[in-house]
């Protein structure tokens, strides 16, 4: 059973669709990068998967069970604002989370918190740094012993060291327990190290969905003379042009024609190409 499946999923806030006609499947054991510009619907998508937001249309299922108004027992969610009880100490917070769950591993929480040298267990949660706050929130999410971990911007606001630590916690979890992870982020370079699956959404719709290696292999960045673009075959995603030279991101490209140099894009330039394309589409309408 796939950890996460969306069918014709949509969420409308008043007149605006935050997520629209989304169909995708997250296969088990993957670490999925959920990327898109601000306001693309990433948070809404994750909140629907966690049962906090109700879909307007369609359905999202976790492990084959439709998510309706409550989170699946095998799913954990890290909210973008971290939503912890800030007037409790770390120790009390762990106790509170334990009390709110049927299945709970205090050992797992202690283990994850133990990885963090700097966190004082008797400090109020509200006094923690942004990095420590995120790591405590992840520890609480892992206490539920999830099989699917939904992380909304786990790396935002973190300094490079905290980012590295946080990624290490997540990767340890994946390696030890085979947990499926869906994480949204802007930090493409960090995602590349840990993620093996890409879900790119913009304007509430899925633009790219696939294993990163395959997706990258499907695309070519072609650089060649601006005057000779018609020679290029394939689906043009995005082009940046100077007077003499054009840089094209092409899907399903044929071998590069004469005079053109073709390379496989890295994740960052691929995502940038798609985001630029959708922004151009938006500004032209």
């Amino acid at each position: 059973m796939n950890p996460l499946t969306a069918t014709a999923l949509g969420k409308r806030y008043r007149a605006r669709w935050a997520v629209r006609d989304c169909d995708f499947t997250v296969p088990g054991g993957k670490v999925v990068a959920l990327v898109g510009p601000n306001g693309a619907g990433k948070s809404t998508l994750l909140r629907m998967a966690a049962g906090i937001v109700r879909p307007t249309t369609g359905e999202i299922s976790a492990f084959g069970t439709p998510v309706r108004g409550r989170i699946h027992p095998d799913v954990s969610f890290l909210a973008q604002d971290r939503s912890l009880y800030r007037d409790l100490t770390v120790r009390e917070l762990a106790r509170a989370c334990a009390a709110m769950n049927d299945r709970w591993s205090a050992d797992r929480v202690r283990e994850v918190l133990g990885l963090l040298a700097g966190v004082d267990h008797d400090a109020k949660v509200g006094t923690l740094s942004a990095g420590a706050l995120t790591q405590v929130a992840i520890a609480m999410a892992l206490g539920r012993l999830p099989r699917l971990l939904l992380l909304d911007e786990p790396l935002s606001d973190l300094d490079p060291l905290a980012r590295d630590e946080t990624l290490r916690i997540i990767m340890t979890e994946v390696a030890e327990r085979g947990t499926t992870v869906v994480m949204s982020s802007h930090l493409l370079s960090d995602l590349r190290e840990v993620c093996d699956h890409l879900l790119l959404i913009d304007e509430g719709r899925v633009q790219v969905d696939g294993d990163i290696e395959e997706v990258l292999a499907q695309h070519r960045i072609l650089v060649g003379p601006a005057a000779d673009e018609s020679a290029v075959e394939g689906t043009l995603i995005n082009a940046t042009r100077t007077e003499r030279q054009a840089t094209l991101l092409v899907r399903e490209a044929r071998p590069a024609p004469k005079g053109w140099a073709g390379t496989e894009p890295d994740l960052e330039s691929l995502v940038m190409g798609y985001l630029r394309a959708s922004r151009e589409r938006r500004s032209s309408t």
């Binding site: 049962g51 906090i52 108004g69 027992p73 009880y85 007037d87 009390a99 709110m100």
Partner: protein, 332 residues
């Protein structure tokens, strides 16, 4: 889950406990000091009898009543305002603050159900507040009864203030204020909005429904001949209607009553004498005003009025709590 609710509302519960201890201490001290001054003024016997039967000097009773009117009024006011405070400071922020700060997401993404989360928060907030209010209310009434007819109880249980702080009425108001606060809190998702709008709505509803309860309890009617006094005005009863009946027992319209009594007043020469008063009273039945009547609820039935009052506000509270549950379950 109970531990979570207790821990999150600990500061508020300790504040309530502090209020209870301080309130109870102050009331006990003031009450014993008041009893001392009753004893030293020789007024102890006057507490349980009507004022005109009091054997002590009138000046002593008067100065006692003046000296203690303010403390007793403050005590009564604190019970009067208790429900509104519970609504504003306990009911309104209960869910509004969670929704405003996003901490409801933490609870909603654990395995505890939304309903159980809500119920445990409601119970942990409401029950201690009601207990504290009830204890302080009974302590205030214990104090008031020590002053007896020399204090505010002289006016009977139906004066607006005495009624508002008597029997189960404060509990009914508190329940309603609390439920109103939580409901507006869940709908607005703003603590400050819930506190202010909740207070405003509570005051409006309290005033709007103030007279309703009197009409829902069956009143008794007393009829006397015009030369007799009606005792219902002085025995603490709630008089809902009064006037004259004609010989057939039908109520006489007020303007007709005015005309007839004016006619009777003009018959005798000179007024103010005992004879003219007798002639006036004898004239009334002849002119068609056979009897005086009053519809009233006796003091002994005040508890029924309180029960109906609490039932009205309790029912509103239940509706609002059902609305809160519905809104939280579909919260997204």
């Amino acid at each position: 889950m109970i531990w979570v609710s207790w821990r999150r509302q600990r500061a508020q519960l300790l504040t309530l406990l502090g209020l209870l201890v301080v309130g109870a201490g102050v009331i006990t001290l003031l009450r014993s000091s008041m009893i001392d001054s009753l004893t030293s003024a020789g007024l102890t016997g006057c507490v349980s009898v009507p004022l005109d039967q009091c054997t002590a000097p009138a000046a002593a009773a008067k100065s006692f009543a003046e000296a203690w009117a303010n403390p007793l009024d403050i005590a009564r006011m604190s019970i009067l305002f208790g429900p509104a405070l519970i609504g504003v400071f306990i009911g309104a922020p209960l869910f509004a603050r969670e929704l405003e700060q996003g901490t409801h997401v933490l609870a909603f993404t654990q395995s505890v159900s939304r309903t159980r989360w809500m119920v445990s928060k409601l119970v942990m907030a409401l029950v201690p507040a009601l207990v504290v209010l009830a204890v302080l209310q009974s302590m205030v009434s214990w104090w008031l009864s020590a002053a007896g007819t020399l204090g505010p109880l002289m006016n009977g249980p139906f004066t607006a203030l005495n009624f508002s702080i008597g029997h189960v009425s404060p509990a009914g108001y508190a329940l309603f204020a609390f439920a109103l606060g939580t409901f507006i809190g869940v709908m607005s998702r703003r603590t400050l909005v819930a506190m202010t709008a909740g207070l405003g709505a509570f005051v409006v509803v309290r005033f709007a429904l103030a007279g309703l309860v009197d009409r829902l309890v069956p009143a008794q009617r007393v009829e006397v001949s015009p030369d007799k006094e009606l005792t219902v005005y002085t025995d603490g009863s709630l008089v809902l209607d009064h006037g004259y009946l004609d010989a057939a027992g039908q109520p006489v319209a007020q303007d007709k009553v005015n005309a007839l009594t004016a006619a009777c007043k003009s018959v005798p020469q000179g007024s103010g004498t005992a004879e003219s008063q007798q002639e006036f009273l004898a004239c009334l039945p002849k002119s068609g005003l056979a009897k005086r009547y009053a519809d009233f609820i006796p003091e002994s039935q005040a508890w029924q009025v309180h029960l109906v009052d609490a039932a009205i506000f309790g029912a509103l509270a239940v509706l609002l709590l059902a609305g809160t549950t519905w809104a939280l379950r579909r919260q997204s």
